[in-house]
């Protein structure tokens, strides 16, 4: 599937595809959720650097997640999942409730972020060029351009980008484009206390992630799996990918996201067919009429 020589799907070097000559290596994030301590330093560091507004003082009751979801005012979001499987109760008799922590109690934490997809639907559908591919292969909203059409919002298969109500424009993670420009690492990964969020060139991160999964498997952590690392997946691989300890949907991630524009040529073919049908109908409507 290509358009004007540019592919809409499959593995690709996005910066070169977007017209940069000799771009720097593509950079991204590898977020290893197995060592996330849920401290939310990433959320705060992001907001401090980017001047992202507060998003409300609401106790959500979703474990320790009072942020809720990624959005215009949340570019990093730490998800908290408490899991347990029921276990046998202590054998000791006596009155009262059963005692003891569930044996399989797990508290999963994961810092979610814009995936900076290889094939980014938000970028593809943006009509103004506000959303664009940077020389680093990242996807950025240009705040001096965005006119708030809102198209990017339902286009994103991960539910990342959103409109800032008071402002009208769409906002999301820029991977600290201004910092990348001067050779600095993004604010979130720099702050991350345990290096759960790792920043680097994507190729190197993918290798590192592969080794980490092997290490965890050797340690008996069979639930570890990578998410968004595969350049052959539905979005051409994510610029920000993850090591998860459960299915993606448990963290609020789509299990098999696909960039909507993969189907764009087919859509246009159907639209053209429909246009022809309408033309035929119109001609038919006038058939028999004469001047």
């Amino acid at each position: 599937m290509t358009l004007g020589g540019n592919r809409l799907f499959g593995p690709l070097d996005p910066a070169a595809d977007a017209g940069y000559e000799a771009p720097p290596p593509r950079v991204g994030f590898f977020t290893d959720t197995s060592i996330c301590i849920g401290c939310k330093a990433c959320e705060v560091a992001c907001k401090e650097w980017n001047g992202v507004p507060g998003d409300g003082l609401d106790l959500l009751g979703m474990s320790y997640d009072n942020t809720g979801a990624l959005g215009a005012d949340t570019w990093r979001h730490v998800a908290f999942i408490e899991q347990s499987r029921p276990v046998e109760q202590p054998a000791t008799g006596g009155a009262g409730a059963p005692a003891g922590l569930p044996a399989d109690l797990r508290w999963l934490m994961m810092s979610d972020i814009c995936k900076h997809c290889t094939h980014a639907a938000c970028l593809d559908v943006c009509p103004t060029g506000s959303l664009f591919r940077t020389e680093f292969g990242t996807v950025v909203v240009q705040e001096d351009i965005c006119n708030g059409c809102g198209y990017c919002i339902p286009a994103c298969p991960y539910g990342v980008i959103d409109q800032r109500k008071a402002d009208g424009r769409a906002w999301k993670c820029t991977m600290c484009y201004d910092r990348l420009k001067v050779g600095l690492e993004p604010a979130c990964s720099k702050a991350c206390p345990t290096d759960s969020i790792q920043f680097g060139t994507l190729d190197e991160l993918r290798e590192r992630a592969g080794r980490r999964v092997e290490q965890l498997e050797r340690a008996g952590v069979t639930s570890a799996r990578l998410y968004g690392d595969d350049p052959n997946d539905g979005v051409g691989g994510d610029g920000a990918f993850f090591l998860l300890l459960d299915e993606p949907e448990v963290y609020g991630l789509p299990p098999d996201p696909v960039v909507t524009t993969r189907d764009l040529p087919a859509m246009w073919r159907r639209a053209a067919g429909a246009a022809v049908t309408l033309t035929v109908a119109a001609v038919a409507a006038f058939a028999g009429s004469r001047r």
Binding site: T128, G129, I153, A275, R290
Partner: protein, 303 residues
């Protein structure tokens, strides 16, 4: 009815974001369809010498063009930056393509109406009207691509069907509008277009309902479902009435025509709400994807 799906999620929260589009967008879909259909009717009428129909349709196209423009600009978060729509040519963006399309369609459509209103330069008016009519079918159908080219399950998965629903709805509503504006005697092409459009819309919709599976469910539920039922009734009723009573009665013609316009409006708003509903429930995002993955059929590029 699709059986209740078992799935996991993050506190039942949606995976994707609901569209932030306000009512302007489905309203634009309606007026966009109306102006496209009207331009076709105007050109046909012009070529077949149906001045009454031509004049009314040119005005209808222009009026809906104005309304469409207002809706589109009004929906923007930063309306003062509307001109950025033409900042780039981005073929991957149906909205950008649509903007260029409207930029090409709008001036001739407006010129045709201006010529009609002023009664000057009918040759220019015809040329403009024909130019508008050439672009009109795409104007009517691209909005389906605009809708489908999203991650919203009910919209995306409907992409094979929505263009036909939309052009059908455009034909039905434009025909209907002309039926309301033009005496029955001059409105027969409009009636035919309306009936053909309504048939196309209802047929495409029926097919969509039968083939879409889980992600078609939102079209049948909640606000979208109610609007959908109204749309079917109004469109079918308007078409039947248009094919029968409206041929003789100006009143019946007007009623049938307005029913068709209203039916089209219900269709557009039904689609709009179905999208919002499917985006708001993680089931529609997670279940089909999970089924693909579990079946070993995850989407993968092959070389």
């Amino acid at each position: 009815m699709v059986p209740q799906a078992e799935f996991r999620s993050y506190y039942g929260q949606p995976v994707i974001k609901k569209p932030v589009w306000k009512w302007d967008i489905p309203a634009y879909f309606l007026t966009g369809g109306l102006m496209a259909g009207s331009s076709l009717l105007a050109a046909g009428a012009d070529l077949t010498g149906n001045r009454r129909l031509c004049r009314a349709s040119r005005f209808a196209a222009a009026a809906n063009l104005a309304a469409s423009t207002w809706f589109l600009v009004h929906d923007l978060g930063r309306p003062e930056r509307f001109y950025n729509m033409l900042r780039v040519v981005r073929p991957t963006s149906p909205m950008n393509v649509g903007s260029w399309l409207l930029a090409a369609y709008g001036p001739p459509a407006a010129l045709a109406a201006a010529s009609e209103a002023a009664g000057v330069s009918p040759r220019t008016g015809r040329a403009a009207g024909l130019a508008a009519a050439v672009l009109a079918p795409m104007v009517a159908s691209y909005t389906a691509v605009l809708t489908s080219d999203t991650a919203v399950p009910a919209w995306h998965d409907a992409y094979p069907h929505l263009p036909f629903v939309f052009v059908g709805s455009a034909g039905a509503s434009a025909g209907g509008l002309a039926m309301a504006l033009v005496p029955p005697a001059q409105a027969s092409p409009a009636r035919r277009l309306a009936v053909l459009g309504a048939g196309l819309e209802l047929g495409a919709d029926e097919h969509m309902g039968r083939t879409m599976g889980l992600t078609g469910e939102p079209y049948r539920q909640g606000t979208a479902g109610r609007l959908h039922r109204w749309a079917r009734a109004l469109t079918a009723g308007g078409a039947v009435m248009g094919a029968t009573l409206a041929r003789r009665s100006r009143l019946a013609s007007a009623v049938a025509g307005l029913a068709l316009v209203a039916g089209s409006a219900c269709t557009r708003f039904s689609v709009f709400h179905a999208g919002a509903q499917s985006a708001g429930d993680p089931k529609y995002t997670v279940v089909p994807q999970r089924e693909r993955v579990d079946a070993g059929d995850a989407v993968r590029a092959t070389g």
